[in-house]
């Protein structure tokens, strides 16, 4: 297991990149701590697979360096980096048995046969395929095949890190939960450094200690699932995480607080009002209250999801979504208010911290 440092990585798929737009990955500077479970989350084409392939050595970055435990590995081949990677579509060696599949990476590295036997048996137990060790890999289901692919990574107990590239895409929904919790359990027991690429927020939030949210080739926020939910750094994170995503409303900021139309909303602290900046207020639907106080709203429609209701409304001409409990009665003249704990203010899409703004004002 190893700590992975990415030093100012940039990558372009074209030969002579000039502008920022030519780069698929626009400067990534980040450290994956030893033994951490990370998720790289972002929409398709945001550069997460590119980043993963740079870590595993399948791609060489255009600029920047990769360090494993402080040693530069930028120019090392995949074989020499000692990394395991599980791909989107399960890769198994069809003509081999399950046992031979797991033994393959060890045999290629010249491990002694009794050691291979011991480690393969151990790994088969871990991934729950011990009873099918001598079956041909070809006839197995997609999720068993993906388990074999995972097993080929786990069997090499000395790998620097295990990388996952959307590994559960082809797995049945009910099996996804099982496999994901098995992965988490394996991580807890053996403390592998794991990096998990996904575009599915549930997968990222349940799997990882730290979620790295990417958009258009950049890291927008790194944080625990709670941080991403409570304090999205960028309105993109607000939209992308949560279902439905965060409400973002244009506001006017002055000394007293934020204003939506003629309605004032008090904030936790004063925000330095930058006239040039586009100011927005972000509030997650979970923190939107419907009652008799606040800003008058027009209800557009109500979706019943079973345990709770999603209310779509408009205030001051702006659409807003609210999540309320199943049994909440919606008043005849509904008003909307926000839980102060859930309010974030954004200047040009990036979050402004009220406390930081206050310090800035004093200086």
């Amino acid at each position: 297991m190893a700590r992975i440092d990415l030093n100012n990585i940039r990558h372009a798929y074209m030969p002579n990149p000039v502008s920022d737009d030519d780069f698929a990955l626009k400067r990534v500077h980040h450290t994956f701590d030893d033994g951490g479970a990370y998720a790289l989350l972002g929409p398709s084409g945001c550069g997460k697979t590119t980043l993963l392939n740079i870590i595993s050595g399948l791609l060489r970055p255009t600029e920047g360096d990769i360090l494993f435990d402080g040693h530069k590995v930028t120019d090392l081949s995949t074989e020499d980096r000692n990394i395991a990677q599980v791909f989107q579509f399960p890769v198994v060696y069809d003509t081999m048995t399950v046992y031979q599949n797991l033994a393959f990476p060890l045999r290629n590295r010249g491990v002694a046969s009794n050691e291979i036997e011991r480690r393969v048996r151990e790994t088969l137990e871990m991934i729950d395929l011990a009873d099918r060790a001598d079956q041909k890999a070809k006839g197995l289901t997609a999720d068993d095949k993906q388990k074999i692919a995972l097993g080929r990574g786990l069997v090499r107990s000395d790998v620097s890190a295990i990388l996952f590239d959307e590994p559960l895409t082809v797995i049945d929904p009910h099996m996804k939960w099982v496999l994901r919790s098995q992965l988490k359990e394996l991580h807890r027991r053996f403390a592998f450094t794991m990096v998990y690429v996904t575009h599915d927020q549930t997968e990222a939030l349940t799997f990882a200690d730290q979620v790295v949210v990417m958009n258009e080739g950049e890291i927008v926020q790194i944080g625990t699932p709670e941080e991403l939910f409570e304090r999205p750094n960028h309105t993109f994170v607000g939209y992308f995480i949560g279902s439905p995503g965060m409400n973002v409303l244009p506001v006017r900021i002055d000394g007293q607080g934020a204003h939506i139309g003629s309605h004032a909303i008090s904030l936790a602290g004063p925000i330095a009002a930058d006239r040039a900046a586009r100011m927005e207020l972000g509030v997650r639907p979970e923190y939107v209250r419907i009652g008799n106080k606040g800003i008058p709203a027009q209800i557009a429609r109500v979706e019943d999801t079973g345990r709770r209701k999603i209310v779509h409304a408009t205030i001051e001409g702006q659409p807003i979504a609210a999540i309320v409990a199943e049994d909440t009665a919606i008043p005849a003249e509904p008003h909307i208010s926000f839980d102060p704990a859930g309010i974030n203010i954004y200047a040009n899409s990036w979050r402004v911290d009220p406390a930081a703004a206050r310090q800035g004002g004093a200086a």
Binding site: N53, S56, L58, S77, T78, E79, I83, A84, Q85, F87, Q88, F89, V91, Y93, D94, T95, M96, F104, P105, N108, R109, K136, K138, G139, A149, R152, G153
Partner: protein, 287 residues
């Protein structure tokens, strides 16, 4: 949707049935008819039963041409399949050279068979042909109209030149269908070049290679035009393969009964081998 059964639907198959009857079944039955009768001029026929079949199956001449046929098919399969796979492996996976390679590979397949025979005939002429003159100039005695070994060498070389491309194209299609992730996973597992071939490329090409072997088997088993143009079955009977022998019997000697019986035996052999291949292929699918 509910399924309705209407037996009148069978009428829709009728045109195809008629077509097949005219171009396959009726000619075949004519041959069956010849094979059980003694035929004389003036359309005189005498029923002979299985006499011709007995004659053919016990004749040394038939055994010899059957042996030559299997030897030839065996040799060209042993050369063309590994060579085709090897060429396909060296072809680029992407880029502008792919089309160039594919066109070059397809060229021999586009040439009419009798032209192939004529081309190689000229090429192999000992006094003016590039191949024939070249070999003799190197001190290797070569004359395909006199020496059986030279004749065989030329016929095999011609077939390899003509048909290896087919194996290449099929194998290349098989290789192209392997997702990039397999190669990446192999890199991560530290697999050698040989392991990649043995455990990824070969198993993935399994299906297309079976088809390639089947096609090459059937085609080479029925080979006629090229050796007919090149050697005419000689020197002596050295390159008289089954179909050449058949034509000699039917049109050279007008032994219609013998020729018809040979045709039927020949047909049944091809059918049997095709059936064996079909079973092997479908059994592979079940696994």
């Amino acid at each position: 949707m509910t399924k309705t059964w209407n037996n009148r639907a069978w009428f829709l198959v009728l045109p195809v049935l008629l077509l097949v009857a005219f171009n396959a079944i009726i000619p075949l039955m004519t041959v069956v008819n010849y094979s059980v009768q003694e035929t004389f001029g003036n359309n005189l026929f005498f029923f002979e039963g299985v006499k011709w079949y007995e004659d053919v199956l016990t004749s040394d001449r038939f055994h010899a041409s059957l042996f030559r046929q299997f030897l030839f098919t065996g040799i060209i399969l042993l050369i063309e399949v590994p060579l085709g796979v090897a060429i396909a492996l060296t072809m680029p996976r992407s880029g502008p050279w792919v089309s160039v390679c594919l066109v070059l590979m397809a060229l021999p397949l586009l040439i009419p068979w009798n032209v192939v025979g004529a081309m190689w005939n000229i090429m192999a002429l000992p006094d003016i042909g590039l191949l024939g003159y070249g070999l003799n100039a190197l001190g290797i005695p070569y004359n395909f109209t006199r020496q059986p070994i030279s004749a065989w060498f030329t016929v095999v070389l011609m077939d390899v030149w003509h048909w290896t491309s087919l194996v290449v194209l099929l194998a290349y299609a098989g290789l192209r269908s392997i997702p990039e992730a397999y190669y990446q996973a192999a890199k991560i597992d530290g697999a050698s070049r040989w392991s990649v071939f043995r455990y990824i490329q070969l198993p993935k090409m399994n299906r297309v290679l079976t088809i390639a072997v089947l096609l090459r088997f059937m085609d080479s088993f029925m080979i006629y035009t090229e050796p007919f143009v090149l050697t005419g079955g000689g020197p002596g009977n050295a390159t008289t393969f089954l179909s050449i022998d058949l034509v000699k019997a039917a049109l050279g000697e007008f032994n219609l009964g013998i020729a018809a019986a040979m045709s039927i035996i020949y047909f049944l052999m091809t059918l049997l081998v095709s059936w064996i291949f079909y079973t092997l292929m479908t059994r592979g699918e079940d696994q």
